[in-house]
Amino acid sequence: MAERVLLRHLDVPDIHKLDVYLAHGGYAAARKALTTLTPEQVTEQVKASNLRGRGGAGFVAGMKWGFLPKDSPKPVYLCCNADESEPGTFKDRAIIEWNTHILLEGILITAYAIKCHTAYIYIRGEFAFGARRLHEAIAEAYKAGFLGKNIFGTGFDLDVYVHRGAGAYICGEETGLIESLEGKRAYPRIKPPFPATYGLFGCPTIVNNVETLACVPSIIANGPEWFKSIGPEGSPGPKIYCVSGHVEKPGLYELPMGMPLRTVIYDYAGGIRGGKKLKAVMPGGSSFPVLTPDEIDVHMDFDSMRKINAFLGTAGIIVMDEDTCMVRALEIIDRFYHHESCGQCSPCREGTGWLHKLLLRLEEGNGRPEDIDLMDRIAGNMMGNTVCVLADAAAMPTQSFLSKFRDEFVAHVTLGRCPLKKNGTGHRQAA
């Protein structure tokens, strides 16, 4: 297999260090971009590569950069979204901690493309080690002249700052991130206006995910055609799959975009732990619909997933075996959204808590028959009607659990306990 791009540290030890990174061709792409291409040409190449945002929404990166106003007198900012808090997702962390310079190089090229001279890396507060690694790498890069003034003698300046979050999922939502960076409560903003026109400190701003930015150097180094040749053309590139849950070999797998979900689970992650049967998979973190075993032949790319009403999301693949109680699993998911809703919008603030309480009641054996439809209705009322999509992120898994595993929810009501529970013990099943 070819050398990995994003998880290159698995092939090249110590690549987080500048000398090792340089010895393996590091910053050559940045040099190429800054010294031989115009910002517009860089943007064109990234657009042509069809690089799609790895933060979950899959928006075409080059197109997003193109939304920046051409003639704004205000400075342009780049925010690297390193808040990675999606359940089941731990890919950005690996890049930050072990392939640190590829991220900085991606930031440098992107900043050049969008004519930005100040970039912020907003990193999840819990990633203390990652923040340290970033600080070290940034110091190295300044010293080597890859950051700071007159980079590569081109007259291009760039400063990069690391900002540590304080532990809220909502700070990963791009406008919540911007508010937080401004020193405010991370209340997502209503859109329009979008960050490209009114972002950080009211200035044009691009927010990109760590993995997205880490893809950029390889596009400049190898060309957009190379990038597009990896996986499906409309949604191409190297991709990190995060596999967690009841598999033999949980972990990160860098593979081309568009791998069949079955292949990732069975061929790479070693199949279901202890030879058990697969019951359910959340393929893209916790924020999207759950899949059943007969749906796992789907290809893991943005477009293929949409065709079966699923989402690639962060490719945080959460695998659940036959012993998993789906009521408890959903309770854990909705507990997360109940905890993390910023509380701004009525449907999300009240809906997440309401869902969670109903699920707790169901788990405790006190669920009412009408609660199942009530939960479905609450989730339906939360969808598509809030400032950010956290409400949808809670509603989508809820509705899919309720419809795909309805019998199990009904059984909880009729039995007054979990049907998987044997002889009244083992209520808290592995989940």
Binding site: I190, G343, C345, R349, G353, L374, N385
Partner: protein, 540 residues
Amino acid sequence: MPKLTIDGREVTVEDGVNVIQAAERLGIEVPHYCYHPGLSISGNCRMCLVEIEKMPKLQIACNTKVAEGMVVYTRTPKVKAAQEAVLEFLLINHPIDCPICDQAGECKLQDYYMDYGAYKSRFPLEAKVRKRKVVDLGPHVVLDQERCILCARCTRFLDEVTKTSELGIFSRGDRCYIDLFPGKRLENPYSANVVDVCPVGALTHKDFRFKARVWYLEKTQSICTRCANGCNIDIYHRRGEMFRFRPRYNPHVNQYWMCDEGRLWYKALQQESRLTRPLLRGAQGFTAVTWDQAVNWVIEAITQAQATTTSGESAVAGIVGAKATNEEAYLCLRLLTSSCGTELVAGLSWSPPQAFADDFLIKADKNPNTRGLQALGLLNGKVAVTHILDAAEKGTIQVLVVFAADLVTALGREAVEKALGNVKVIVLDTDYSGTTEYADIVLPIGTVAETDGTYTNYAGRVQRVRQAFPPPGEAKTGWEALSLLHAKLGGASYLSAAEVFAELAQTVPVFAGLTYGKLGNHGVPLASLLPEEVRGAASA
């Protein structure tokens, strides 16, 4: 000017207007909580959903600007269902304690859920998120966190209007609550406006809490007379008693706001010290007399003074306080100059030294009508109050008419005592004051709440006040009392304040062309009516 269609009706509005405002022009109410026209758009309540052609999802009307050819529906089943859902969310943790809530009757939550059919909370009470019920925020405002729907109007007001940011939203999700930032108290001079912006009963005014059910109160358009700004207000009253002032929108004066001191000014207008009967001083002090007796006494005093005066010298003088309406001040002028033939009429506009003022609404001039008196030529320095008092002391005048002015507070007791010993003092006022102690006769008149009239604010805007209820006891409105005297002295009598104003507008050039009708709800600035040179000449 985009033209759009809302519920099948066309409307043309200015650019930049949102769909809530456009609908309002057609008399269509789009239900909303977080939107407030005086604050930034927050878009958090999600109540203002509307259907817009060519848009797949429902849109929030507050953050949707009008566009040419836009087709909006505010009442489709889809919209109704979505709004019902939002209400359901808002009520799930709401205590629904309307029977003991001050906001009942003007609560948007209550209004809408009544519209949508009383909703039975699906959660047993013990499962509701409990928060603090009586949080003391400052001198005026109390917070009930459980009733709060987190619309962020209060925080936006404090962030954007006063820029004092005392309140914040703390915690996350359904645990969110409004509270003071550590070390802060809600005590800026405009703090009580948060009570008005709060769409529910979460923020209440200490002064109004539990005092009255709003549906028993009447509402009358008026002006705050606490300072020269002339903030537009509504007086809430019942059977001649005032319960509160609330700001009334005027884009030119106070937008949606008023200051805390002005808000409580109604108390100063209905104190024990109110005068309710004409009083005549005798050997044993004041005795109540009838209006006939009082008026006759006054007329006699004036005619006597005129008869005994030596040629040329005015025997009668008048002082008009800047509390007087334009109509009252004008009638004082008419009465004294035409009927009594005196030139000795001075205005008195007194404010405590170093009175508080800021660059927002509050003015250091604590009189509502200084500019009006100026416009009538009463404060131009031709006749000074001190000059009149000197004349009184010297005995050149025999009768002094004091209208709505307290000389004692303004000039000190000593000066007043020296001057007024030798003259007949006729006082027309609302309350006992230092000056009434020197009066020979007192005629009780109505306050701003009890009369029709106009004031001219610091910027020269002429604004109407309307009678909320008649003056107490036997008191008469100021213009009626003056009209009575005027008629007795052979002048005209007037049937209404409007009639007085019409004459004023005819005779005083700066007011030319104005009528009550033209003043409308927001008043008219004097300056805009006249070119600068005419204005200059008129006030010179």
